[in-house]
Symmetry: D2
Subunit: 442 residues, 4 copies
């Protein structure tokens, strides 16, 4: 057995040697972006890689509880995108288990007695049309999205590639650690739709340590990563459908039931929900589709909205108020409406002891990695890692969500989003070193 | 030469003998509904029929002035629907001239010296999903729409079939009349987009008499038809596009430029344009599509709207106010916007002398037709026949727009719209008798 | 007894001789304008004049049914304005009966057996600040309003003076007619609040003929008056109160219940009530008062609104929709609300026979008066004469509402409203001649 | 000279002996509440008291720079309230200098060489109607507001009384300290209107230490006071006036320019200004008055609004967006508008050294006072003390804003607001002890 000191040096050099592999995977994922529940190509390739490395691989119905998934696309879209994935090189032997939106992969390595450590990486892309600007990194390097209207504009391509790098390193040094390693490649993080289905399947029930990470803007921060996070906004995602009654807009508008009036009342008032003195809140009406023709009173509308809150209580205040506004807007104009929950997340709160342990492990052992002086970074967005975190913490385990620091070429979800790929290598080192330390039989 | 009295009896019996042909054509058109500028199948079959009967047939660029067409669908839609039309039995020899939205047909018969009489029939369907209720006439009889999302819910299927019946009768009795007969099968009446392009092509410049008709609810009216119309609302159709700036709805909503806020402000205020004491006005936001994703600040929206007015002045007041609201809503939220005119129509005003002449011809000669005691029916909708009518009247001709009376199973544009097909046969008699009378060398 | 011909000449010369008296009264009323239920000075002076002429005079609770009055000002205002009226020269002996908003006067002359003819004149001013422009007639002539914020901007000053002129003429020629003359000086026509209380008191139950009139713009009309009216909009006046909950706008806005949000939702949506294809409709939010302080969440609001419709059915559609919008706006923001009916009027419909009779009387007998060729003028506003008219017509009598034609210096209710006073003299002739003719024992 | 230890004991006993005086003054101020710039009675009585104690007293134009005052009431109101103040027992010799809104008082004691310490107390009441509930403290004790519509619902009655207590104690022990004491009784803190005018007058230019305080809810806090504050929201107060054009709502609504539509558009959109990820923001439309009559198109409106931000930058974002919304709403409906700034405040940031010093002084010397373990309390509201604080800090001095802890009977600005008067005595001890310590010649 090599000495601990040697192990960390080994982790650092293994990670650096994997640079070509990691970048190639990241760029491949970037070029073929797949939104939530449609990550068939991405999931199947990850499954193939994990299998190649020697992991036990779970896919399909072994990953997510089918009925706990939120915001699954329509059957038409699932079918069309499944065909697209096959055409773009999905591994058919795994893909076949992933039809109907059963994406996501878990890699398992039961490596003697010891604690269970789970790592979580997300996979999905956004419905964003990538910039074609020649100065945009992926364009310049020729790996920009070929899937029109979809883009990895939140770094999940990087997270997935990083996860494969970590898998490789930890398999390589498996004789140096003991216990169970669970590599969770989660689908549908965008829209905070996927974590709940993994949790409901029970995958987080016997986890001692849970670690995740997100690439984040490094401006003003000193170091390669921050060991913890806090404060992500709790959120609820709602789909709203209005039903009215059509009529000819010229001859008898008064006989219709005007969905467009209900929609305008709803939007105006949703954004006007009073701010709270108790902390931050958010409201967004992200998409809206209404009506059948210019001269017909619109009799249908679909709206995707979300609320957020600095605490779960504030999020609930926002959700309750939003539901009341929607119901009242419908009633005001004689409409009926339906509201469906499509996703939800809680606030993030990394365990202080685990933060401290991560800091110590990295500071004392990784010569090429600099830990930020900041313990924990405030998270402005929503993250359904929070749902896994809560389950682990409730069951007595510890969890943290780290921030891999990099300059960003655009805001999160912006069409020119890009990051410095070297943060992936640093991330592999951190994850591997921390896992090595946590997975000891003591 | 047969006596006049005999001619009218002949018109009546010819019309009745055509019943099977007319109903078959109407039901065929109903089953394969095609919206404006996409009437390739309908137009090509009408062209084939007119050609078979012996008319000189104009199609393609000989019908509409290409650049004067309003509200033409995108190239993608044109191409897809062209293929669909071919697959559904369009006559390829004519269809080939109709690519790229060059639909519509004119049938000409120059039959000696005499006045020019133009008849106008419209062809296009609506973007309405037809009811599947077994009690709905077309379902019961098995000719409901096979084109998902499209429906003849305004009777244009009947108008087109009626036009073919009139063509047949007038060809049959061509030795009884003298002059030029021009049968205009106009595309894209819905949205009042097509008439202008026919007028700009010059087809109405040398017309002495112009006659059109619409199937209308017969409640409370005494007779088979009303010889005139007045008062259709002047209208302007506008497409509106808003551009904003996306951003992550959780972390930095304040950096976006919120299209959804601009849209809600626009709609709320558009419907609130003050009513006018000078006469009726209308406003409708018919369709709206906005946003890219639930958690992204919406940065784009498209809206189809229309205004109407009892007079052109009121319509102008509505249009001006609407444009100001849209521009101000955009400015209010830091957006840019574009407004494009997609259609327009004027008020209708049938010539009193022609109304009287139509009444006299039918009352004195058609034993099986009852003329309503009402001279002219108020038209609540918009009709771009008005643009043809204005051109004919400005050039010294006369025009009228008749109303064929029938009970209706639903409101105009309603998904269960249907009419009593016997009104089509009565309509053929009226059109043919009136044309016979007008087309005399005196 | 003088011959009939002589009577009409006498009416004409008596009327012209009263010119100075009538103008003086009109200008006096104009200078001391009093809004509805506050016409203590105006009513008391009219009572004094009628008494002087020899009429039996009803005032106070003998005029209106106290509890049927709508939109009565608060006790404070009634008291303050009563004192103001006394200070401005009200006749105390009559004024004393008019406290607490019991204004209005009826002059009666039972003059032998014969039919009962009622004439109606309105008295009240508007809450409009009169223009101080030196070119404005009343300013130029020095009789502009001394009551700040109040103005006769609808001609009721002229109507009241005209009524006194008619009273004088008919008293003068009382030996020439037989029957009962009832001169109704109605309070609170603005806001259509007063007529109902007079009708409920029973004053219109035994009336054979009812005649009223309004000064109207003469543009394009040929003559001194039009004998009838039709089409005034049916209307309902509503007062709305919202109750919410205050809170500090900085520290805890979320604990308030925001009346301002409810108010904005209500107004935006009220103006957006869909126009009807069945005829004209109107909506107005005339006044609004809300909130207690800049940094306090507003917890109260009062709104005065009205709806109108070309038919009573359309008015009902508007009222029902408005009530639903108000209730839903309150519910949307957790508010409570109250809605109180403050006035109402019906559509106007002059009896054709009476119109014809008025035309004949005037054309055949009044050399100095020109009857318009128009029988009946469309009335765009609301008039609670309609409520009296309906009662008389229901009981078998006849009624008409005439239009005295004059150029107007501003729109009705405009701050520079003024008319040509000569129309008052012409009006006296018409009223007197018509009464003389109707009041004959046959 | 007595020993220091004795001084603090003396401060404690002097303060307790003043209890009756302080409560009597507080209750007197409470019973006669006067809003900003109208505090003639309050200011004149304070001036009289300070004069009696031996302070040099500044009033009238010596206190505020006249033209730098914001949100001064109209001349009518100033005159009326001046008379009211005299009638309610103002001291005429001082009141005479305070006409036209020149309220506020400064008491000066130049007591040898030493630093300058300024204390600030605010005076004004709110436009809140006090609860008449018999259980409400002031009602129970018989000192509830006699000025209808005004109430001390923010504790300034207590602050002013406390200031007089401090004045008395520090005068009593004037031989124990050296330097200049400046007691600033600031007018018009509500609406953050007054501090700027005092600062512009130069009163804060040579101040070494500035101390203020506010009574605050004690829930969960341990002790009598917290020595510092931070984070009050920066704010801007705006008055908005809209001008439109009246018209008769029945006959010609289209000829008006509808202020009510502009108002509704403005309010709806103001509350909808996107929340910022950079920190807390606020918007409130506190009051609104619009329109002249139910049946007249409203042609005028006045609105009092305010925005706030956790930082000055956020406040500026809110103000800029609000101004754009108001201008666009006016333009949208053809209105003109004016926006006037009526008040402003910055964020609060107590100096850490001074906080520490206050803590030490009190902890070590005042046996009967408990300092909270919390250094600084977050301030959710706005406070124009911040403007004074900024000037002192810019010139090199130190400042803090303390929190006197008490349970509160209602939220700030609530109509049942009340506090535990014992916090005033504790406050006197703290202010006096701290001043004694700061005012030493070293």
């Amino acid at each position: 057995m090599i000495s601990n000191e040697n192990v960390y040096e080994q982790i650092e050099s293994l990670s650096e040697n994997l640079q070509e592999y990691i970048l190639q995977m990241r760029r491949d994922f970037h070029q073929f972006p797949e939104p939530g529940w449609l990550e068939v190509r991405t999931s199947s390739l990850i499954a193939r890689e994990l299998h190649r490395m020697g992991y036990e691989v779970l896919t399909g119905e072994d990953v997510c509880l089918k009925e706990a998934r939120m915001g699954v696309p329509s059957r038409d879209v699932l079918d069309r995108e499944y065909e697209r994935a096959l055409a773009q090189g999905a591994d058919e032997s795994f893909a076949v288990t992933m039809r109907d939106g059963m994406t996501g992969v878990i890699g398992l390595l039961k490596n003697g007695s010891g604690p269970t450590t789970a790592l979580r990486f997300d996979l999905d892309a956004l419905r964003v049309q990538e910039s074609g600007d020649p100065g945009h990194g992926p364009c310049r390097e020729g790996f920009d999205s070929v899937n029109e209207g979809y883009m990895h504009a939140c770094g999940h391509d990087g997270h997935a590639a990083l996860g494969l790098g970590v898998a490789e390193v930890l398999m390589e040094i498996r004789h140096e650690w003991q216990g169970t390693l669970k590599l969770i490649f989660q689908p549908a993080e965008e829209g905070v739709r996927g974590a709940k289905a993994l949790v409901e399947k029970g995958h987080l029930d016997h986890v001692d340590y849970l670690i995740g990470a997100h690439i984040s803007e490094s401006e003003g921060y000193d170091g390669d990563f921050i060991p913890g996070s806090h404060g992500a906004l709790a959120t609820t995602k709602l789909d709203v459908v209005f039903h009215g009654k059509g009529a000819h807009a010229g001859s008898a508008p008064q006989t219709g039931r005007h969905v467009m009036l209900g929609v305008a009342a709803a939007i105006s008032n949703l954004y006007g929900i009073p701010r709270t003195g108790a902390g931050a809140s958010r409201i967004n009406v992200g998409t809206l589709k209404a009506g059948r023709g210019r001269n017909i009173i619109a009799d249908n509308a679909e709206m995707e909205i979300e609320v957020r809150g600095e605490t779960s209580q504030i999020n609930q205040y926002m959700e309750d108020y939003a539901r009341r506004i929607i119901a009242s807007s419908a009633q005001m104009h004689g409409l009926s409406c339906e509201i469906r929950e499509m996703g939800s997340a809680l606030t993030l709160s990394s365990d202080k002891d685990l933060i401290e342990r991560v800091r110590t492990i990295c500071r004392e052992n990784l010569a090429s990695v600099k830990v930020s002086s900041l313990d924990s970074m405030h998270f402005e967005e929503s993250e359904d890692f929070s749902i896994m975190m809560k389950r682990v913490q409730e069951k007595g385990g510890s969890a943290t969500f780290m921030r891999l620091l990099s300059p960003l070429a655009d805001v999160l979800h912006g069409k020119e989003f890009d990051f410095d790929e070297s943060c992936l290598i640093q991330g592999v080192k951190v994850f591997a070193a921390v896992c090595h330390d946590l997975l000891q039989d003591n």
